[in-house]
């Protein structure tokens, strides 16, 4: 018997908005001018937040912080497609997602300032607390998605992780569960090319990360992660597919971490300035600005107003955060179980 091909896959890459600010109108998602402006304002707000967080960290007012510089379009473009009722499972480099979902910004500073109360998600949002061990929250999204399906809720569960996360066992186990149970899940990988000092090529010999999805029985797509329209469209389509019962999707946002892994890292130890410089023209904020300028949606005046507005919001969040009373030390004990154990009841008397 001759050998035959029993399966073949085609991995797509989606790009809509190029570096000059021109779009492929055949692929352009339906977005009003106001929505586009809102996207831009969120990009600026997220970048303003990021810059402020770095300043505050240097001043010793925040702990270690993981910046999002360069990845704003991947985060805001995807979150822009989400409903507030969708479940979000973030990793630690997702401040743009939080901001786009309308999470109270002072609580983000509170969390990075070392206070768990910053992760008390407001009741109108379903954002799971930040997952620190890389990739281990991927099965949680699969589980929440299966639960949503079980209850007949028209929501999707979305997990965010990085290129490093795709090397973890829980990436495999979570994807496998989601595929087998056709879970309404969307997996968003921000492939920012670096897991601290280890480059993307050392995470996987696979040509793309997107193609990994096919071995779990669902589609993976690579999008230009610095193209907010491509990210938005891919996420919107994946959510629609999930909510109509057609199972999960994996979106690889091909982007770049423009700065250090965290404030405790020095990226100059392991990567060349040339490489970083080569990504500068691909900046996600610049690209949307060029598009809007061509469309007459962007002016110097608008830029100034947008920046001022962002600064006011961030200033207010910082002062709001600083007015919060320190946590009660006994809180570290009180929230272990619903009720204190007999031992904990004795231990908490120390405070």
């Amino acid at each position: 018997m001759p050998e035959s091909i029993i399966e073949s896959i085609n991995v797509k890459r989606l790009e809509i908005l190029d570096v000059n600010g021109d779009v492929d109108s055949s692929l352009m998602p339906a977005l009003s001018d106001n929505e586009i402006k809102r996207m831009y304002e969120l990009l600026v707000l997220a970048r303003t937040f990021d810059e402020r967080a770095l300043h505050l960290q240097r001043e010793g007012r925040l702990g270690t912080y993981a910046p999002i510089l360069g990845q704003e379009a991947s985060q805001i473009g995807s979150a822009f497609a989400l409903e507030k009722t969708d479940w979000v499972f973030p990793s630690f480099r997702e401040m743009g997602v939080y901001i786009a979902m309308g999470y109270p910004i002072h609580m983000l500073f509170q969390y990075w300032g070392g206070d768990e109360r910053g992760l008390i998600t407001p009741s109108d949002l379903n954002i799971f607390p930040i997952c620190i061990p890389v990739g281990t929250h991927i099965p949680h999204a699969a589980g929440a998605a299966i639960a949503a399906k079980h209850k007949g809720d028209k929501v999707a569960a979305v997990a965010y992780f990085g290129d490093g996360g795709t090397s973890k066992g829980d990436f495999h186990e979570g994807f496998n569960m989601a595929g087998v149970f056709k879970a309404p899940a969307v997996f968003i990988c921000q492939n920012n090319q670096w897991a601290i000092s280890v480059p993307r090529q050392r995470q996987s010999a696979s040509k793309t990360l997107a193609q990994k999805a096919f071995s779990y029985g669902f589609e993976g797509i690579q999008v230009d992660g610095n193209d907010i329209f491509a990210v938005y469209k891919a996420t919107k389509d994946a959510l629609k597919k999930a909510k109509s019962g057609n199972g999960p999707t994996f979106i690889e946002c091909f982007t770049y971490r423009m700065t250090h892994h965290t404030t405790a890292d020095d990226a100059t130890r392991y990567r060349k300035d040339d490489e970083v410089a080569s990504w500068k023209p691909r900046d996600p904020v610049l690209r949307l600005k060029l598009f809007m300028a061509k469309k007459g949606l962007w002016t110097e005046q608008y830029q100034k107003e947008t920046e001022d507005k962002a600064k006011v919001i961030i200033d207010k969040a910082v002062s709001e955060e600083e007015s919060i009373k320190p946590p009660f030390p006994g809180d570290m004990i009180s929230y272990t179980y619903e009720k204190l154990t007999p031992r904990q009841a004795k231990q908490i008397k120390d405070f």
Binding site: P139, H140, A147, A157, D170, M177
Partner: protein
């Protein structure tokens, strides 16, 4: 009218608890390897898929971390998952999910989210299986704030404790002794009773020595104390520990023997022993003795009987503390 209690074994009692809880609450679902069509390798979930369908009794891929991780997502979303890990030796792959997530979600979100999850797993030696099918790793889980650890020793308590575990708002590791699964039968009411978590029971009252045990070793302890005026405690829940019942008994007897199957070093007996030393030292008339598995890898069946605490080893410890 409640049905007449039937004499059933622990497998049947656990099955009954699962069935009753699934009937009571549509959010209770079972997931694990072979739990559906096959009814579990020990038949604990037998018949449940037929009754509740494949969406509530889910045969999953062979994926321990995935099973627990998925169950965490389900629990946080609002279901009451009961995940089965086929043998305790395979739960190690899911320790990260249990310790890094299930145990911490309530704390990490300062009470915004909780994780009402039960992980059932058969534990312990005595059924002549391959490697890693005989583990007694209960102490790992007792060292994880945020997790509760429950070990039933009889069919009646297994049913009542499992029902409490499923209704508990926090993650529970529920350990089922493989050796006890079919060893004893007792009357188990078909009505909706529960046995509270965090409470030990006095199986037998006595004045001369307190024997503290749980799960399969309880039965060996009961055989070992014949003819001795011993008080025998069945902890049932290891974490949170019912120190009050322990101290009350120690104050009465002044002598303690702790019996468990797990290795001695850092076994849960060490915790009990330290607790007694801290709070009831002055009542002791003899050193606290531990009769445990050896500090060794649990052997294959040829040496299994040498590994587990025997009646004579327990008996020897009892005689020693009484003579002291």
């Amino acid at each position: 009218m409640p049905e007449e209690p039937k004499r059933i074994n622990m497998v049947q009692a656990i099955n009954l608890a699962l069935r009753e809880e699934m009937q009571r609450d549509g959010n209770v679902i079972i997931l694990g390897e072979d739990v559906g069509t096959d009814g579990g390798v020990f038949r604990v979930t037998d018949g449940l898929m037929k009754e509740f369908g494949p969406e509530r009794v889910m045969d999953t891929p062979l994926s321990e971390s995935g099973i627990v991780g998925t169950a965490i997502g389900m629990a946080v979303y609002g279901l009451r998952p009961v995940a089965e890990i086929q043998f305790m030796g395979f739960i190690y792959a899911a320790l990260d999910q249990i310790y890094a997530h299930a145990a911490r979600i309530r704390s990490r979100s300062r009470g915004r989210y909780s994780c009402p999850l039960v992980v059932r797993t058969p534990y312990g030696a005595g059924i002549k299986p391959p490697e890693l099918h005989s583990e007694s790793a209960e102490a790992f889980f007792c060292h994880m704030p945020g997790v509760k650890v429950v070990v039933p020793s009889t069919p009646y308590n297994a049913k009542g404790l499992l029902k409490s575990s499923i209704r508990d708002p926090d993650p529970v590791i529920f350990l089922e002794s493989t050796r006890l699964y079919r060893l004893i039968k007792e009357e188990v009411p078909a009505d909706d009773y529960t046995v509270p978590l965090g409470k030990a029971r006095i199986v037998r009252e006595g004045r001369d020595v307190t024997v503290i045990s749980w799960g399969s070793m309880l039965h060996r302890s009961l055989q070992a104390v014949e003819g001795i005026d011993a008080e025998v405690l069945d902890l049932m829940t290891l974490n949170p520990l019912d120190e009050e019942t322990i101290f009350k008994s120690v104050r009465k007897t002044g002598r303690v023997v702790i019996v468990h199957e797990a290795p001695k070093t850092c076994g849960f007996g060490a915790e009990i022993s330290a607790a007694i030393a801290e709070d009831a030292m002055l009542y002791l008339k003899a050193p606290i003795m531990r009769v445990t598995g050896y500090d060794a890898v649990i052997p294959l069946p040829r040496l299994e009987d040498y590994y587990m605490p025997t009646i004579s080893r327990v008996r020897k410890a009892l005689e020693e503390v009484i003579k002291y």
